[in-house]
Amino acid sequence: MQSLTPIEPMKPMTNDDYNWRKFCGLMSVMIVFAASCLFLGCGRSGDGSEGGTSAGGVEVVVGSETYVALRAENEALRRENQLLRRELISKNGRLPDAVLPEKGKDSGSVVEAEGEDTGYWLATNSKVRHNKRCRNYRKVKGRPCGPNEGRPCKMCGG
């Protein structure tokens, strides 16, 4: 079994050490800043207005050729994605661009029923009870009913 070497305790930092570290830190910040300025300056073409793109609020300028290539690639990916989406849904992978929508017909939707208006409506088929606030009240086939008949509608509470 190997014996572990004990870790030396840290020496307390002197004033000189502190100043040197501070200087190094400042220098590295300045170098990074200068390098970024140089990089952005080189990328600017001609009047500096071409090939600009924004990333997180910072104006990044790239060479116009790269910019054009990226745009073309982006457009190709978009088209590919659209095609995949269409193939996922429609059999021929095409949009129904020649299909015209179907003109709406205004057929009467109010269900006329005899009897007293109790404020509740029982749908004949589903046996669901609707109250006056509901979209289905007197709009589905049914009859007026009491407050406890049938099952209450999940939307209006019957």
């Binding site: 659209q82 989406r85 059999k91 129904p96 015209l100 179907e102 709406g104 509901c134 209006c156």
Partner: protein
Amino acid sequence: MVKRALLVCCALAWISSVFGDVVVATWNMKWFPSGIANLRNEDGVEKQTIASAGRLLQNAFKEQTRKSGADLVVLAQEVRDAEAMTNYINAAGINGLKVVSVSNFKDGDVPLWQQVAILSTLPVLDAGYATWAKGIGVSIPRGFVYALLDGGDDGPIACFSLHLKSNLNLSGSEVESQKNMYKREAAAAQILAVVRKMRDAFPERELRVIVGGDFNTSDDSLEFVSEATLRSFYGAHFRSCFRDLKKSQKITHPGTNGFPDATFDYILYRGFERIVNRKIYPGAPLSDHNLVALRLR
């Protein structure tokens, strides 16, 4: 004498420049007038909502026509029925504004309470509504309402109000998300097919077209980067009302519940010379969408 002639000329030029302006507004009114999905609200609450919504439209129209008069076209979405729209018009109190068309989309036999509508002060040549075509691989909810309005000497104006498929995705699957996009793309393709047909009916001049509503997509969001809905309109020479605006200047659907601010409501137009004025009016607390209004010349 020359001064007077110049003044008359200037006045005539000004009159001719503002004559034929159309103020267009679009607003998703959030289950108007109840504000609750598929349910009626208390009478008092609904009356108050109608009154407030009317005031908002009135103020927007006043601001847009402060310098000179103009006609108005309102494209409304998520409204209950024609009665709600009539009450809205009465509350707005704008001279000559009338209901042009309200859809009657149904879920089975029951009318939806998410109808779309067009209101206008212009004379109506034709109007109606249509549901999206069936048998195209998917079922697209609702449809659109259209109107051919008499725009005077500049010719007719074709208007469309639409509310495209939402981004509702209960399963959270990518397939569902792609289906939603496809439904919007397919709807846009159908609108463009109708526009082409209408343009063929008026070959003698450029037909002015306005398509507005809740598109539920955005042209500057990464989420919809591959979606062609809006781009298909731009490809057909439509222009967006938000052209050249920054993202922060065109928020029509303020973010809530962790969702970011979005631009879902657009007015797309073609055949008009330019936008004279455009503004987004906050729709809260009546709706989760803002009202978008602009003046077209």
